[in-house]
Amino acid sequence: MKTFGRLSFLLLATVAFLSLSGVQPTQAQENPYFVAYDHNLEEPGNLEVEYFSTFGTQRGGPNFHGFWSEFEYGATAWWTTEFYLDGQTTFGDSTVFTGFRWENRVRPLNKEHWINPVLYMEFEDINGADKILKEVEGHDVESDFLAPNAEARRERNREMELKLILSSNYKDWNFTENTLAVKNLSNDPWEFGYALGASRPLAVKGATRKCNLCLQHFIAGVEMYGGLGDRYSFGLHHTSHYVAPALAWNLPSGWTFKIEPSFGLNDMSHQFLLRWGASYEISGFGRKVADLFRGKQE
């Protein structure tokens, strides 16, 4: 538990520091997805600090709790960059830090279109004990998670992950389709996966007063994700697939809460995953940091 405690402490300390340093929270408009991405990027200069969990059931072994922290920054209106720290607890075994990820999303088209592409590039340096299940790739199956932490963490994965995100907003619905290709930087073959999502706010009109429980702040959706094999054995077979209803609650104070139960669709999937998380969006973070280094310009 030591690592988890330290991670939590770091996260809380970061949020506290930022809150006390005068930066303003701003209301996020987060989609409810945990795996799929849409084309909406972080607003420029805003930092979103996030914590997410995945509780997973495991046949033939102990259940687990994967968790990760995300620092999502809107570098420009067309480029969002994110840094992740991952960890997990396997019940009856141990808690381990499993690695980090650095992800970038770039929006190549300036305007809104019927289909809006976003290019996604991620480098990850994680060990074999990682259980956050942020995506399913290749022939990922439930039995991959059976190895004890001490053994699994000896395997080191340095991977480059590319995604093509195609997302549309139509009549207040969001529809998104993600295709992913992952290359372990050792000699492993390219692996593939997918995620699909659809979501909509529970109310499309804004209320005339500030309120936390107004339906406009809730976005409900569903996502489906799974593997597509690798370059030698492409397809939906011998890999895992999930369907997951999801709900996001975007509070005017800058907090967002999400929850998503996921259900395995075949025998190779975990039967049940429960994901939840919280995030806090801070407006003008980049400007404040820049001010610290260059002084006031009046």
């Binding site: 770091l10 909406n40 200069g45 420009t76 840094f83 300036n110 809104e112 907003n169 407006s283 404040k288």
Partner: protein, 149 residues
């Protein structure tokens, strides 16, 4: 992994963010003459769109709440502009058609840091248009803000 390594990673993260912040701040060049130029690029079919909530008595009030939640940090409490974004009370904005403002909200001005707000449902974008139009022009504030940029 030791706490030192974790602290190092976190430090690197913030150093990176600081560099990004500084770079993005440095690229804020004065573009006084083109702050509102994007308004003229709205396609005709958008420019001529009528605000479907024009007769909704609550639209401007709801738009004000949305403005406070999503826009005021950049455009200022009174929509008179700020460090990051121009005044919405300049005559260029106030004289623009509702459809034009809706088009800007929907598409953003991505290369000039105005985000795409298509993630807000259409009725909420129209409520924002109602609020912005209800403010009326404030010429001096508009010019002051544009000068700052």
């Amino acid at each position: 992994m030791r706490i030192g390594t974790l602290a190092g990673i976190t430090g690197l993260l913030f150093a990176g963010l600081a560099v990004l912040g500084a770079v993005s701040a440095k690229t804020e060049t004065p573009e006084q003459e083109s702050v509102y130029a994007e308004l003229s690029k709205a396609p005709e079919k958008y420019r001529n769109r009528v605000n479907p909530l024009a007769n909704d008595p609550d639209a401007a009030a709801a738009g004000r709440v949305l403005f406070e939640e999503h826009c005021e940090d950049c455009h200022g409490q009174q929509a008179t502009g700020g460090k990051k974004a121009p005044s919405l009370r300049a005559k260029e904005v106030q004289e623009a058609t509702p459809g034009t403002i809706f088009w800007i909200l929907t598409n953003g001005v991505v290369r000039k840091k105005m985000p795409v707000w298509s993630k807000l449902p259409e009725p909420q974008r129209w409520q924002l248009v109602s609020y912005i139009k209800s403010l009326g022009p404030l010429e001096a504030a508009g010019n002051k803000s544009a000068e700052k940029r």
